[in-house]
């Protein structure tokens, strides 16, 4: 019999986002993991690389009327309408629990003006438990007639600048895929000092109910997520990762470790699990496990060897 020898070293799964070191590249995507506590009885939260909580705004938002979600082919549309308790209640009610988890907590922020982004950043940076800020720039800019910040390089750069000026923690800018040239947006936020970009947010979509002759969502349009969008996400991650020097965080339809590893090959330093959390509440933990198993099986010294290792041509 062959003598089975313990591998000398367990593969190193750590990755770095700005100054923040994560134990592994797996995070939970904003809006798909509540404020984490909901998942406590179902999985080991402490195994995650980081937790990104539901998007927070300066003031509470009630969100959209129902129906807010509808299933589509291999995906779902949501029009939650950025419902959240506002930054003050978030800090008061959620932060203590999150702070005690000993997992980096990344707060996803949104606003409808530069000033809102500035104020919320300022407020959050006073909380020691905030490990990083993820800036959702897919929100409409009220001053520009509701055009999303994330669809214009100069507006995206402006948000980044404001948040960076205020922030004492790494800043991740979360990009919208509903653009002609996502590389231009990524380059613009990089040039204003973003520590990382994460992509993709949802694709704008719509569903129609033939029986009622009405849109399925009260809000008419919503954000498409899930396995259906994975090919678009992979393509954008690949394009952006080749164009910027900051880390890229891949998001979109990731359900398994295989999906996650594909994003890393395409250039992602880390990834986020979104819609999959709804289908399998343990999905994110299973991705962590699967990545570890893969690294062991493939004799990787560090998972970082995979980042952008796609063989092209």
């Amino acid at each position: 019999m062959e003598y089975l020898k313990e591998s000398d070293s367990i593969p190193d799964l750590r990755v770095k986002i700005g100054t923040l070191v994560l134990d592994n590249p797996v995070m939970t995507a904003s809006g798909t993991f509540g404020y984490a506590r909901e998942f406590e009885p179902l999985m080991n939260l402490r195994r995650l690389g980081a937790i990104i909580v539901k998007g927070i705004s300066l003031h509470p938002r009630a969100g959209n009327p129902p129906p807010r979600i509808v299933e589509t082919a291999c995906g779902m549309l949501n029009a939650i309408g950025l419902q959240n308790v506002g930054v003050e209640r978030f800090i008061k009610e959620k932060m203590e629990y999150l702070g005690n988890l000993s997992v980096p907590i990344i707060v996803n922020v949104l606003g409808d003006s530069l000033e809102e982004y500035r104020q919320i950043t300022e407020r959050l940076c006073h909380c020691t438990a905030v490990a990083a800020i993820e800036v959702n720039i897919s929100c409409p800019n009220v001053k520009k007639g509701g055009v999303a910040f994330g669809t214009d390089p100069s507006m995206a750069a402006a948000v980044t600048k404001v948040v960076k000026q205020e922030s004492t923690v790494p800043v991740i800018v979360k990009l919208s895929p509903n653009v002609t040239d996502i590389v231009a947006i990524a380059a613009a936020v990089e040039s204003e000092g973003a520590d990382a970009v994460s992509l993709i947010n949802t694709l704008i979509g719509m569903a129609v109910n033939l029986k009622t002759r009405r849109p399925e969502l009260a809000n008419v349009i919503g954000g498409l997520s899930g396995p259906a969008i994975k090919p678009v996400a992979l393509r954008m991650v690949y394009q952006v990762a080749r164009a910027v020097r900051i880390p890229v965080i891949g998001i979109g339809g990731i359900e398994t470790a295989e999906d996650a590893l594909e994003f890393m090959l395409a250039g992602a330093t880390a990834i986020q699990v979104g819609t999959a959390n709804f289908i399998n509440p343990r999905a994110s933990e299973e991705v962590v496990e699967g990545i570890g198993d893969y690294a062991l099986r493939e004799n990787l010294h560090s998972i970082r060897e995979l980042i952008g290792a796609l063989k092209v041509g």
Binding site: I69, E71, I279
Partner: protein, 222 residues
Amino acid sequence: MIRTGAGKDPLLRRPFSIHQSIAQGQIQIYFKVVGRGTEILAHVKKGEALSVFGPLGRGFRIAEKSPACLIGGGLGIAPMLFLAKRISQVKKDCSQDLIILGGRSRSEVEPLVADFEQLGLKLACSTDDGSYEMRGYVTDVFKNHDLPADCSVYCCGPEAMMARISAMCKEHHYPCQVSVESVMACGMGACLGCSMPTKSGIYAHVCLDGPVFDAEEMVWNI
């Protein structure tokens, strides 16, 4: 919440009420084929494994001291059996309790009657087309019965029916609980998809705060 297939399509779990459950860990659901997910579910064979996530949310709160009136309309009958069993276990005196079941026609009501009758509670049924017992709506049955003044009402069914029952209960000052439906993705308060407007102006979430609510909190959308 039940996954109806193993693939990526249909993607989301589907929410169902528990129709019956026994201590040995078996649960029964009673469902209607309305779309792809339930279609697949209807073809599941004995012995096949299903991914089930639950129980979730807040069910009916039983008022132990007051006479109960259970009202189930259409598929709203599904959770009523579970509730009726609990009531017959928990409450000391069930002599004044009444169960009202209604459906469009015989096939929606009759198959379930035997299960309810076993419990020994009073039963009254109606069908829209009169094909089984009284012709009419459960609201008519409800009106025709002289309920005790301290009666508690438990109700599940189509929105229009629950709205009518709620209004009638308000008139008679009966406390009324309703079990409502909503589209759901996660079933555990993570997606905020299952929102329901309430009188307080903020959205409740059916999966976590419900599916059972006090009828008074509800804003009916009809």
